[in-house]
Symmetry: none
Subunit: 204 residues, 2 copies
């Protein structure tokens, strides 16, 4: 069982493959988000917007497109998976703790499905309260920080727009926020000096 043969077409936009053959192979490679894109997505997610509406999704996509080809579907999937994964992680962790206080995440992988629960660090101080004191995102750049708005400064004009990212951030500073009811603010992302606002109104 488990033999599905559904149409696996979709996706799109991807970087150049090793060698683009003129063959009829669409090379349906899946979208590989760039580090900058991941940063943006994570920041938005951690800002409380865990489920952006369509309008916001489109806007976010436009934002991400500045760093690489990406479609609305990719953004949509990203948020969906993010939410799902976060919840699942929490659930499994909780379940494990309930059953056995020292239930190690080690599992015996069985042939067939490789869905083994893997609980990485993070997710500790999760106060599921209406109060949101989420000050995640150590994006301590020289940019001024406005209340209720996150500033994101990127320098892609240079050769290495990655400098800012690898400057201090290990890779991804994501503290899974279960559901923060952030106040209506605005996520401001500065790209190449151009600020892009992503108003985060009613999250869901």
């Amino acid at each position: 069982m488990g033999d599905h043969g559904r149409d696996r077409h979709s996706s799109s936009t991807l970087h150049r493959s090793t060698a683009d053959r003129t063959e009829t192979e669409p090379v349906r490679t899946r979208w590989t988000p760039k580090p900058e894109q991941i940063l943006i997505l994570e920041s938005i997610f951690n800002s409380g917007m865990v489920n952006p509406p369509k309008e916001e999704t489109v806007r976010i996509r436009k934002l991400l497109e500045k760093f690489g080809a990406v479609g609305d579907a990719n953004v949509f999937y990203w948020f969906q998976n993010r939410r799902s994964r976060s919840r699942r992680r929490q659930r499994q962790l909780q379940a494990s703790l309930m059953v056995d206080p020292r239930a190690a995440p080690g599992v015996t992988q069985q042939a067939g499905s490789g869905v083994l629960p893997h609980e990485p660090p993070t997710s500790s101080s999760s106060s599921s309260s209406t109060s949101s004191n989420n000050s995640s995102f150590p994006c301590s750049s020289s940019a001024s920080s406005s209340p209720s708005s996150y500033d994101f400064v990127m320098d892609d004009g240079s050769d290495d727009l990655f400098s800012m990212i690898s400057s201090q951030t290990p890779f991804m500073c994501s503290s899974d926020v279960p559901r923060s009811h952030c106040q209506p603010g605005t996520i401001t992302v500065f790209i190449d000096g151009v600020p892009s606002e992503v108003p985060m109104g009613p999250i869901d």
Copy 2:
């Protein structure tokens, strides 16, 4: 009948999986349509019956049951999801074409952008909605002259297709092109040489 007389979940038939976890665990396995079942479903869908009534749903279920456990709800959900997905795809495609200037007829293209699963705003979203584009596609294609039975002739089929049934079965594809409403006839599915008729009455 105020409410749809359709029972929401009545999939009484479901196979058991490797239930060696907990004895009392129903394992709640979701229905995994077999390739043959998918073929039948797609055929019916592509034949124009995109929203079969309950009676037809039951009949289709009976048909599918020959290849594996399946409930009425599964069939119902399948059609519902299929319809939704098709519409979404179509909408997205149209939107993409409007935005994407490279609608080159040439194939072997890495697609434009990730098609999103949710409806794009298409024209600012404000105007009254539900402006269903009825034009659609020409309801012609290759159809048998038999007014009593309908043949499934799908194009595409470029994707990997499973090894059909043990008999000869018309190919199918994932192309979603629901004919608005072809002539009311009968959908005949040849299974193992045995024709099963599914009269398509009120299509939708």
